[in-house]
């Protein structure tokens, strides 16, 4: 894991001290709310419906066991005993007190964490594949590059007041688990014909009221040019992105308006001007950062473990967990374990302080003290020896963390919605709860197979509904909650925008609509055909008819 150097420590500690002073001045009235608001937002502190909300960054989704223990401690001491893991690999606390946030930030700084740039029109937390550095299907670990971007973008003076928020995601694997095509900039680590490592660079993706899938700006960017090229990309956007209209201010609108070729041309021209000033870091520095992410020393173990097969043979739930919640590791004899934060009837992404503590302990025992957070709001233990899987599963299951549903219909992404969020039209969480209760049958879920449901409580799309195989969007219908259903989205390498199927439903109607959509799929699918493929083959009409009846 990356360890802060003296600069990182000094920077983060100085920021905490500065914010402590600002909070004190706000409490005494020296600063008005108008003056204070931008300052608190720069430190990840929002005011929501019932309380403040603090958003803490988990850079590229990697946590140590000690950091997780600190998150548990904060939930216990300053909050109501839980936290919410989000689609941007952050954790949100729903109940911090303003006067206590400087203490929280200091506790975070003590374990090399912060809430800087988790809000505002700046470059946000860089997200990546939750299996980075551990998965069998990757070209290279993307996290050293994500860390480089974090350092370059933290407190970057030129990019602290962009036209709008800016989100970068990076993947090193062929399977895109980081939804890079839905980001302002997406990076894919790849190898060219000469065997050199570089990036495919995409730009202009985003959700919100105008969903756009990112387009390729450059097919291959050598690794050593990463930061200067990003600098050029941001410069063109910073200069020309619209500042007159918040809804047209994201880079997606700029790239659409000028065309990706023209955007790329301007970026290349800007890059020619700046690439020779030292923005890119020397090779030794890259090597120094890479060393922090060196794979753990794992002794190769037997890949077939009879005890695992034996338990799977007699316990269907373990068998399902093995199939859904464990994935192939780089090293034979190991697996990456997804801990589902989606218990049926529960709140997607929420974890209690006890659960966080337990996960930290399990990481110490089974996964080299390492934990990951996925954009799908689950936790991951990488590098688990296969022989330990039965024991680990048992401990997770006892703590309510063993739901074997990763990637299945009940592994739902849901934003906080109207239960917490002041921008919401509708609640999201109760819809997820009702759906997961309705589908609380592992045999049925396994039969349905991979199916991603994503729910947002308003068009801001924090719940990624545009990228849902089934997306659900909350709208305000004359002051009541109404839910639209969308089909056919994908956040993967085959990214696509979900399309609205028809008129919205009330709280019960939307769950019935999901059932009808699933029934069409089960009736129409071909041998081995997954939901998304079936939808793409069938088109919306078959589903429309089933959901709304023949017209």
């Amino acid at each position: 894991m990356y360890a802060y150097d003296t600069f990182d420590h000094a920077m983060v500690n100085a920021r905490v001290a500065e914010f402590r002073d600002q909070v004190e001045r706000r409490m005494t009235g020296e600063l008005t709310e108008e003056e204070f608001r931008p300052l608190r937002l720069m430190n990840g502190l929002y005011l929501q419906l019932h309380a403040y909300m603090l958003r803490v960054a988990i850079p590229y989704g990697t946590l140590s066991a000690d950091q997780m223990r600190k998150l548990a401690h904060i939930a216990r001491k300053y909050d109501k005993g839980y936290g919410h893991f989000t689609t941007r690999q952050n954790i949100q606390y729903n109940w911090p007190k303003l006067s206590e946030t400087p203490d929280i930030l200091q506790e975070l700084a003590d374990v090399e964490m912060h809430a800087v740039q988790t809000s505002g029109n700046c470059i946000r937390n860089v997200t990546t594949d939750q299996f980075a550095g551990a998965t069998a299907d990757e070209v290279a670990d993307p996290r050293p590059y994500a860390e480089l971007i974090r350092q370059w973008s933290s407190f970057h003076p030129e990019f602290s007041f962009l036209p709008r928020k800016f989100k970068i995601a990076i993947t090193g694997a062929k399977t895109d688990r980081a939804a890079i095509k839905w980001h302002d900039i997406g990076l894919v680590v790849k190898e060219n014909d000469e065997g050199e490592i570089g990036f495919e660079v995409l730009a202009g993706g985003g959700m919100g009221r105008t969903p756009v899938i990112a387009k390729t700006v450059r097919d291959f960017l050598p690794v050593q040019d990463l930061l200067s090229y990003l600098e050029a990309m941001l410069r063109v956007y910073n200069e020309q992105g619209r500042r007159d209209n918040k809804y047209k201010a994201r880079i997606k609108i700029l790239v659409e308006a000028m065309g990706v070729e023209e955007y790329a041309r301007q970026v290349e021209a800007e890059w020619e001007k700046i690439r020779h000033i030292p923005i890119d870091v020397p090779e030794e520095e890259v090597a120094r950062i890479k060393a922090f992410f060196a794979p753990p020393p794992l002794a190769v173990l037997a890949d077939d473990v009879p005890a695992v097969d034996e338990l799977a043979g007699k316990n269907f739930i373990f068998k399902a967990w093995l199939a859904n919640n464990t994935g192939a590791h780089k090293v034979p004899g190991y697996a990456n374990v997804t801990i589902s934060l989606k218990p049926h009837g529960g709140i997607p992404g929420d974890a209690s302080d006890e659960q966080m503590d337990l996960v930290a302990d399990l990481a110490d025992t089974y996964s080299q003290s390492e934990i990951r957070v996925s954009h799908e709001q689950n936790l991951i233990l990488p590098h688990v020896a296969k022989k330990d899987l039965p024991e680990l599963w048992q401990k997770l299951d006892e703590a309510g963390l063993g739901t074997p549903n990763a990637g299945l219909l009940t592994d739902i992404i849901a934003c906080p919605g109207l239960d917490y969020c002041s921008l919401a039209n509708t609640r999201s969480i109760p819809i997820a709860q009702t759906i997961t209760e309705r589908f609380d049958d592992m045999k049925r879920l396994m039969d349905i197979g991979p199916l991603k449901i994503k729910i947002s409580g308003c068009i801001n799309s924090c719940g990624h509904h545009h990228a849902g195989h089934i997306g659900i969007l909350g709208v305000d219908r004359k002051g009541t909650e109404n839910y639209q259903i969308l089909l056919g989205g994908s956040g993967g390498e085959d990214a696509s925008k979900a399309a609205i199927l028809g008129p919205g439903f009330d709280e019960d109607g939307i769950v019935d609509a999901v059932e009808k959509v699933v029934a069409v799929y089960l009736g129409e699918r071909e041998e081995g055909e997954e939901f998304l493929a079936a939808y793409r083959r069938l088109g919306p009409d078959t589903f429309k008819e089933a959901v709304y009846g023949a017209h």
């Binding site: 009235g29 709310e33 005011l47 019932h50 309380a51 007190k97 709140i347 239960d419 109760p430 909650e481």
Partner: protein, 106 residues
């Protein structure tokens, strides 16, 4: 200047320190219980309540002072719009922790 209103209104805000949603009462205090909210039935009454609320904002008790439409058809007054009704009731989830357990819940 009097604010234009089309029906009864109440005043909602968040306490400065913990952000808790609170309602302006007829006595000029801030209550956690919406049932205690003062209702403005005219533009003059609303202007009066708002000046009390804004004074509380200036003296750092509350932030985000918002006049919202009130529903006075039931036994107790409540915000008419779902969003503000939710704000008065607390999250509908985690009922083991919420306003539902105890109306004085922080």
């Amino acid at each position: 200047m009097a604010k234009k209103i089309t029906g009864p209104q109440l005043i909602l805000a968040n306490r400065l320190d913990d952000g808790r949603a609170v309602f302006l009462t007829a006595a000029g205090a801030w209550s956690k219980q919406v049932a205690e909210a003062a209702v403005a039935n005219s533009e003059e009454e609303l202007t009066g309540l708002l000046s009390v609320a804004q004074a509380a904002e200036v003296s750092n008790q509350v932030v985000s002072v918002t006049p919202v439409a009130a529903d006075v058809s039931g036994d107790a007054v409540a915000p008419a719009h779902i969003k503000f009704a939710m704000q008065s009731k607390g999250p509908s989830v985690r009922s083991d922790l919420g306003y539902q357990v105890s109306p004085n819940w922080e």
